[in-house]
Symmetry: C2
Subunit: 319 residues, 2 copies
């Protein structure tokens, strides 16, 4: 069975990804309830909020209320997202309860960088230089490079493994300039272009060049292939995955309104656990939280498992 | 890249699976329009109707009108389903336009056989003996064994590869008694219990015992893992898959109301074509037919690809 890992780390991003895109408004108390329920399922990494412009992302105008409001659970790391100094400062106010780390965020697609961040790759590198300095000044460790559009791009088309390697190298150069050591690279299938073959080639190329870097996958289910891609990653020994409960999220990009969001956490957990890869997550409890997420957003989420139920539930009935 | 086949045969079952479960009523003309549109996408095998009791399956009360009504396309094989002599006779009336073959349908789960067919495995073997004789008398070739619940069962729990092998052996014994040669075995994940690991073990066990049998997979997306399971099958060199456009179908079994249906044809085509496995299908045309299916049934279907669009569509825009 190839290189299936014994365990994986799942980074639950449902609250952050989900509430930034739902039309809302969703009460802060509901967001807090979801975060606390997720922490009760065995998940150890939960991204709880985005400190972004309330004008651009009204769904996270209440980031302070949510992050200040939930009851942290022992053993769970709560993370948050920000894109600039103002966001960082807002996050820093909660450094007692958030696990804050800096990250060098790049895009393997220049066209996506322009569309999404309004700056090309070169300009973005400059911005990441400044941001890394900012993170270090704030006392945050910078150990991770994130590569968006690592498997293809709606604006640029196919992305080659060589482009991904170049992007990681650019991030490592920034890290080297500033004297920090990168341990983790996250490859994001931002617009749903990955296939198992592309996962194999992309992960393979990065690993061949930098065998000591830990590779994580951030998968979207835009075209329904996310679980096949996760399985391809597992086979390569990838041990870190981002996901969202119920498949919260959806795709905000042009031409894809209504497209699916991230890979569903519960389907990822089912895939792993049924193949002997430990997640530490109680799947039946997580399915209940997925149903709670559907009640909160007021509509059905993409997860099929929420309707079908876990296999263990049927095993118990059959026994 | 393991044993990926160069091409696969896709058996489109959307009309038959979909219209048997939709609350309807759906006009015969719409069913015919869907069948004709599917035949225009490059699909070469389309299951167009189920000759079953109109009392039990009102959605197929118009099987004759549909099967007699569509315009057959050169090079496309149209198939149908039946379960007894009465159904066979109804199908035989259309033998000029249908590709009729007999099949020995068994269940690897005794409990499912009882629930679904109201007879245990032994009784079902007896029924299949009679049905095989009936098919041969009618002049139909009998070359295929179908194994339902091959990867697990809501009523019985886990199903082992040894149980699948025993079931295939039972089918082969019937074939031997009646002097027919089986060339194909279809393993069905009837209730969505398969994982890539179980696909590998189940397909592996059957292939090890009977290396010359062609193995096909009939996958359901009940718990969201269908594309990962299809990919596991492709890696093993499986070349025949059943699927439904848009994911038409849904699961009629107890405790799973609202659960997803078969693997979506267009997601299977995307998976194959993007990895260099030929399907003969025009994916953009098929996506349009999926959207037509949504209009016909009057609700959204599970396929994510219908909302996101193919990669080629974005490649053309990006170029």
């Amino acid at each position: 069975m190839s290189d299936l890992p014994q365990t994986v780390d799942i980074h639950e991003e449902g609250p952050r990804e989900g509430f930034q895109i739902e039309p809302g408004p969703i009460p802060s108390a509901d967001k807090i309830a979801l975060i606390e329920a997720l922490a009760g399922t065995g998940l150890r990494h939960i991204q709880v909020a985005s400190f972004v412009s309330p004008r651009l992302v009204p769904g996270w105008a209440d980031a302070e209320a949510v992050v200040g409001g939930f009851r942290p659970r022992e053993g769970v790391r709560y993370t948050a997202l920000w894109f600039n100094e103002s966001g960082l400062n807002r996050a820093m106010a909660f450094r007692d309860r958030l696990h804050l780390t800096g990250s060098i965020a790049l895009s393997a697609s220049d066209a996506f960088s322009v569309k999404n961040l309004n700056r090309g790759h070169a300009e973005n590198l400059e911005a990441m230089r400044r941001q890394t300095a900012l993170h270090l000044k704030a006392g945050l460790p910078v150990t991770r490079i994130g590569v968006m559009a690592a498997f293809g791009c709606n604006y640029q088309g196919d992305i080659t493994p060589a482009q991904v390697v170049r992007t990681v190298a650019d991030g490592l150069a920034i890290a080297a300039e500033q004297g920090v050591t990168i341990t983790d690279v996250s490859l994001a299938d931002t617009m749903g272009w990955a296939t198992p073959a592309r996962i194999e080639r992309g992960v393979g190329a990065v690993r061949e060049r930098w065998p000591d870097l830990r590779i994580g996958l951030h998968l979207h289910d835009t075209r329904g292939l996310a679980v096949a891609n996760a399985h391809a990653g597992l086979r390569l020994g990838v041990r870190r995955f981002d996901s969202t409960v119920g498949g919260l999220g959806g795709c905000p990009f042009a031409g894809q309104k209504g497209a699916a969001g991230n890979i569903c956490t519960e389907e990822l957990v089912l895939l792993c656990e049924e193949m002997g890869v430990g997640t530490g997550v109680d799947l039946d409890a997580l399915i209940e939280v997925g149903r709670m997420a559907e009640r909160i957003v007021g509509h059905q989420l993409p997860s099929e498992l929420l309707r079908a139920g876990s296999l263990d539930a049927f095993r118990k009935r059959a026994a």
